[in-house]
C-alpha cells in the first residue's frame, strides 16, 4: 500500500484511478484490479429527473428504457444477450441528477461491451415503435411503484411539496399524463440534448490492461462526435424556506398512518455533508439507532422509523419518516420524533455513541468497496453528483473528523421547524 485513508481506527487503501477526458468531452475513469477475471463498466450521463423538460416529466427515466431497445447496428435486448449469455449482468438506474448504465462481464469481453456502450451512445434507434412500447412500460412502473406500493406516493409527495421552484419537485419516475402527451419529436430532441460524450462519464473497474483499454475506448467512444450546442443546465435555485409547510394526504393503500419531516440541506459537495450522513446513521441505521430504540422499541409508537440524508448535486433533503404502530395517533408519533430532534439540538452525543456510528458508517463503506461494480458506481456518482470522483478517497477521513459538536451544529442549523415540510399520510 502506498498510502492509506483512515477512519474510526481503520485504514483503507485509496481507490487508485486514472482520470482523463477524450477530445469529444467524454470523461474516462479507470481502476485496474486483478482479484477476479471480470470487469465492471459504467456509463453515467449527467441527466436525471431534474433535467426533464417542463411538461415532460419522466423523460430521463424513459430513456433508461429506450437505451435497451437497439441501435442502428443491433437489435433490441442486444445488451442483455451480450451480458447474461456470458455469465454477466447489466442494469441501469435513473436518479434526480444521473442516469447510469452498467455491466459486469468476464474480463475477456471488455472490448465487446465498450463497443456496445459506445454504439448505444452514438447510434441509438429512437423510433416510434420503441417509444410507444417503453412509454407504456414506464407508465406501468408508475402504477406499480407509486400507486400500488403502500407509501409509494409519499416519496413523490415529499419532493413535490418540499420544493417550490427547483425541478427536484417533479421526482424521477415521471408523470403518466406528461408521458402520454409526449411525441417522438420531443423524445428525439431530448436524446440529442443530453446523450452526448461531453455529458457522460465512463468508468471501468477490474481485470484489464489500461493501455489496451484506452486504445479501445479511443476507437469506439472517440469517434462519437461532440455537438457544438451547449448542454442546458438547471439554473433554478430553491429559495430558503422560512416557515413550516404542513400537508395532510389520505390514500387507499395506507396500512398505517405515517408522518414525514423533510428539511432542506445543502448539496453533496458542501462541507456539512459528512455530518449529515453521520446524523442519518445515528438516527436511523439498525436496531441500535435512536429512532428504533426510542420510537419502535421503548415507546412502541412506531412500527418503523427511518432517517435519510438525501444528498444530491443541488441542495437536497434530510428526511425522517415514521409509520405509526396500530392504534397510535399520529400526533403521538410526531411528539416522539420531535423529542429526538430536540435531543440532537440540546445534547452533545456521547463519545461512545459517536464511535459506534463511525464504525457503522465505516463498515458499510468498506463492505461496499468489495465488488468491482460497487466501486464503479461510487466513482460515477461522485463524478456526476459532486463533480469530484477523488472525494471518495477522503470520505472516511471526513467522517472521522465529524465531532459531536458538528452533529449538534448541523441539527440546529438544518433540522428546524421553519426549514421543514411536514406530510401526514393517512388511511382513507
Amino acid at each position: 500500500l502506498t498510502s492509506t485513508v483512515s477512519g474510526a481506527g481503520i485504514a483503507v487503501a485509496p481507490i487508485d484511478f486514472t482520470d482523463r477526458t477524450l477530445p469529444n468531452g467524454l470523461r474516462v475513469l479507470l481502476v485496474e484490479d486483478h482479484r477476479v477475471p471480470s470487469v465492471a463498466i459504467n456509463v453515467g450521463y449527467r441527466v436525471g429527473g431534474k433535467d426533464d423538460p417542463p411538461g415532460r416529466s419522466g423523460f430521463a427515466h424513459l430513456f433508461e428504457h429506450l437505451m435497451f431497445k437497439g441501435t442502428k447496428n443491433t437489435r433490441p435486448e442486444t445488451i442483455d444477450r451480450l451480458t447474461e449469455d456470458i455469465g454477466g449482468l447489466n442494469n441501469a438506474f435513473t436518479a434526480d441528477d444521473i442516469t447510469n448504465y452498467y455491466e459486469v462481464v468476464p474480463s475477456n469481453y471488455l472490448e465487446t461491451l465498450l463497443w456496445a456502450e459506445a454504439d448505444r451512445l452514438g447510434s441509438l434507434a429512437v423510433i416510434e415503435e420503441h417509444f410507444q412500447t417503453e412509454r407504456d412500460v414506464v407508465i406501468g412502473e408508475y402504477d406499480q411503484r407509486i400507486l400500488a406500493e403502500p407509501y409509494g406516493m409519499l416519496d413523490e409527495l415529499v419532493n413535490r411539496e418540499s420544493f417550490v421552484t427547483h425541478p427536484y419537485k417533479r421526482g424521477v419516475i415521471g408523470d403518466p399524463e406528461n408521458l402520454r402527451a409526449a411525441t417522438l419529436a420531443d423524445v428525439v430532441a431530448f436524446h440529442r440534448t443530453f446523450y452526448r460524450p461531453d455529458n457522460a462519464v465512463l468508468v471501468v473497474v477490474g481485470d484489464f490492461d489500461p493501455v489496451q483499454a484506452n486504445v479501445w475506448i479511443d476507437k469506439y467512444f472517440g469517434r462519437v462526435p461532440q455537438p457544438a450546442v451547449p448542454i442546458p443546465r438547471v439554473e433554478a435555485v430553491e429559495p430558503p424556506q422560512t416557515a413550516e409547510r404542513t400537508f395532510t394526504y389520505r390514500a387507499a393503500n395506507v396500512p398505517l398512518p405515517a408522518v414525514e419531516y423533510a428539511y432542506h440541506i445543502p448539496a453533496w459537495r458542501h462541507p456539512d455533508a459528512p455530518a449529515l450522513d453521520i446524523v442519518e446513521t445515528l438516527l436511523g441505521m439498525g436496531k441500535s439507532s435512536r429512532l428504533y430504540q426510542s420510537l419502535v422499541y421503548r415507546q412502541r409508537v412506531a412500527t418503523a422509523a427511518h432517517a435519510s440524508a438525501d444528498l444530491r448535486e443541488h441542495p437536497g433533503l434530510f428526511s425522517l419518516r415514521a409509520i405509526a404502530s396500530t392504534a397510535t395517533p399520529i400526533e403521538r408519533v410526531r411528539e416522539a420524533l420531535d423529542a429526538e430532534i430536540a435531543r440532537l439540538r440540546d445534547e452533545l452525543p456521547a463519545a461512545d455513541e459517536m464511535e459506534r456510528v463511525r464504525t457503522q458508517i465505516a463498515s458499510s463503506f468498506v463492505r461496499s468497496r468489495q465488488t468491482y461494480n460497487n466501486i464503479a458506481v461510487a466513482l460515477v456518482r461522485s463524478a456526476v453528483e459532486r463533480d469530484d470522483p477523488g472525494a471518495l478517497n477522503s470520505d472516511l477521513d471526513r467522517y472521522r473528523a465529524v465531532t459531536g459538536a458538528d452533529v449538534q451544529r448541523v441539527a440546529r442549523q438544518y433540522l428546524t421547524v421553519e426549514n421543514r415540510t411536514t406530510i401526514e399520510y393517512l388511511p382513507l
Partner: protein, 470 residues
C-alpha cells in the same frame, strides 16, 4: 433509421479468458477436534484489499439429521441462535452487532447449520467473541421460541401459495420419499406445532460440538493470526463425552418414471418440475453436470429457447443441479398457463432428451461455460463469498484445492461428457405439476402412464408420499 445492411457493425469478439487471483487456503485441526481453515488477503499486485474479516462455522447437522416428526427443527434452532444467549437478550445481541458494524447470521440447510460473520479488522476480535457466544451459549428463551415458531408457521402459508415453491417441495418428496432429503427444511405447520424448547436444546447440544465443526476465517488476516484467534476463542471448547452422531450416508429410493399432479384450482398458472435424483457434490461427474445444466439454463439456454423464445409458453424455463453431501436433485422447471401444460411438459422432456441424444456443438459450450465462470467470479469477489465457497467444499468433503481447480475442470468438460451426463439424468424422470388439474389433468392422464392426482386439501408434505392420512 434504416440503413443498408452493409454498413452494420458487429460487436468485437472476446479475447482469451483470464484466471482469478485466488487466495491459498490452509488448514489445521485444534486439539478439541475442530477443523480450522484460513485464507489470506489476495496477493496480486493490483488487488484492492479491504480491512474486513469473514468467519463461518459449519456444523454437520442440518435438516437431514431431523426425524420426519421433527421436520423444521434445525431451522428453528439456528433462527434462535441470535435471539438470546447466557448474557444477552435478542435486542442486546442486535445492538452489539450494530455497534460493531458487523453482520451475524445463522441458517440451516439439509447437511449443515451455518453461522456466519463479517466485521472490520479493528473490531473483529470483539465480533468474533459475540459469534462464539451465539454458537456456544444460546439460551433459547421460551418466548423467543414461541415467537420464531409462530412466524415460521405463518411464513409457510405464504410459500405454499406459490405453485412454483409448492412444486419444489412435492418434487423432493417424489424424489426422496422418506429419505433424509425428502421432508421440507422449513418443516410443516403440523411438525412445527409439535416442536418445543427441549427439542431445540437437545438438537443444538447433539451437533454443536468442536469435533463436529469446521471454522473458516479469512480476509484481512494472515493465516497464522487466524489460527491464533481460533485457538484463543474456541480452543477451550470441549467435546462432550457422548459419542458424536455422524450423519449416516443415505441413499434415495430408486427413481421411477411417474407424474404427480397437485390440483390447486386457485393457482394462476401451473408450475412444472421435471426431475430425478442427481449426483453428490463430490461426484466425478459434477463439472459435466454443471456444464450440462448451463447448456439448458439462462435466457439463451436450450429450455428457455424452446419454451419461451420459440413457443411463448412461459416467461422462463431453466434447469438446476442441486448437489449435496449425498445425491440431490437434477431438475428442469417452468411456469405456464393451465391450457399449455401438456405442450410444455412435452417440450421440456424433448429438450432434456435432445441433449442426451447428441453432444452439443463446441461453440455452444464456449458461451455456456462463460456463464459459469462469470457467475463464479462474481461469487468470489467478496471475502464472505470466498468463505462461502470454501465452507461448501469442506462440508462436502471436496479438497480445498478445488477453489483454484474449479474453472479449469469446467473448461475441461467436452461435448461427450455433457451428453453422457444428460443421458444419465434422462432415465426415469418424474414430472410434478401444480395447478388447475381440471384443465390439463385428463390430457396428461391420456399421454403418460402412472399419474397420481392429489387435491390440495389432501397434500401433506410431512408424509413420504405427500398424501394426508386417510
Amino acid at each position: 433509421v434504416t440503413q443498408p445492411i452493409a454498413t452494420l457493425e458487429k460487436p468485437p469478439s472476446p479475447g482469451a479468458p483470464n484466471r482469478a487471483d485466488l487466495p491459498n487456503p490452509v488448514e489445521r485441526t485444534l486439539a478439541n477436534g475442530m477443523r480450522v481453515i484460513a485464507f489470506p488477503q489476495r496477493s496480486a499486485p493490483k488487488a484492492y484489499a479491504v480491512p474486513l474479516i469473514a468467519a463461518q462455522l459449519i456444523v454437520r447437522g442440518g435438516a437431514s439429521a431431523e426425524s420426519e416428526a421433527e421436520a423444521g427443527l434445525a431451522t428453528l434452532m439456528t433462527s434462535l441462535l441470535t435471539q438470546g444467549t447466557a448474557t444477552k437478550s435478542a435486542v442486546e445481541i442486535a445492538q452489539a452487532v450494530d455497534g460493531l458494524g458487523a453482520r451475524l447470521d445463522a441458517a440451516s440447510g439439509y447437511d449443515a447449520s451455518i453461522v456466519s460473520l463479517t466485521a472490520l479488522t479493528h473490531v473483529f476480535a470483539q465480533a468474533f467473541a459475540l459469534f462464539d457466544e451465539v454458537i456456544r451459549q444460546p439460551s433459547f428463551p421460551p418466548d423467543e421460541v414461541e415467537r420464531v415458531r409462530a412466524k415460521a408457521i405463518g411464513d409457510l402459508a405464504l410459500s405454499y401459495s406459490s405453485p412454483s415453491a409448492l412444486a419444489r417441495y412435492v418434487a423432493q418428496r417424489v424424489a426422496f420419499a422418506a429419505a433424509p432429503y425428502g421432508h421440507p427444511v422449513s418443516g410443516t405447520a403440523e411438525t412445527l406445532a409439535t416442536l418445543d424448547r427441549e427439542l431445540v436444546v437437545a438438537f443444538h447440544a447433539r451437533y454443536f460440538r468442536p469435533d463436529n465443526a469446521t471454522l473458516i476465517v479469512g480476509g484481512d488476516c494472515a493465516p497464522d493470526e487466524a489460527f491464533a484467534l481460533a485457538e484463543r476463542q474456541f480452543g477451550g471448547w470441549r467435546a462432550p463425552a457422548t459419542p458424536l452422531l455422524v450423519p449416516a450416508a443415505h441413499t434415495a429410493p430408486g427413481s421411477q418414471s411417474r407424474v404427480v399432479i397437485v390440483d390447486k384450482p386457485d393457482a394462476g398458472r401451473t408450475a412444472i418440475v421435471v426431475g430425478r435424483v442427481g449426483i453428490a457434490r463430490r461426484a466425478a461427474t459434477y463439472p459435466a453436470g454443471v456444464v450440462a445444466t448451463a447448456v439448458l439454463s439462462g435466457y439463451s439456454g436450450r429450455l428457455n429457447q424452446e419454451v419461451r423464445v420459440k413457443r411463448g409458453l412461459s416467461y422462463g424455463a431453466g434447469a438446476q443441479l442441486i448437489a449435496r453431501r449425498e445425491p440431490g436433485m437434477f431438475l428442469a422447471s417452468t411456469l405456464v398457463d393451465h391450457t399449455k401444460v401438456e405442450e410444455a411438459v412435452a417440450v421440456v422432456l424433448e429438450s432434456l432428451r435432445g441433449l442426451a441424444a447428441a453432444p452439443p456443438e463446441a461453440a455452444e459450450l464456449v458461451t455456456r461455460k462463460a456463464t459459469i465462470s462469470g457467475g463464479f467470479s462474481r461469487s468470489i469477489e467478496t471475502i464472505d463469498g470466498i468463505a462461502g465457497v470454501l465452507g461448501e467444499l469442506a462440508l462436502y468433503d471436496v479438497p480445498l484445492t478445488e477453489l483454484g481447480n474449479y474453472l479449469p475442470e469446467i473448461e475441461a468438460v467436452d461435448p461427450a461428457m455433457v451428453q453422457r451426463f444428460a443421458a444419465a439424468m434422462c432415465e426415469d424422470l418424474f414430472v410434478v405439476l401444480v395447478g388447475d388439474a381440471s384443465i390439463f389433468g385428463a390430457a396428461i392422464a391420456r399421454e403418460y402412464p402412472n399419474v397420481t392426482t392429489i387435491p390440495l386439501a389432501q397434500l401433506d408434505l410431512g408424509r413420504p408420499d405427500a398424501i394426508k392420512e386417510p
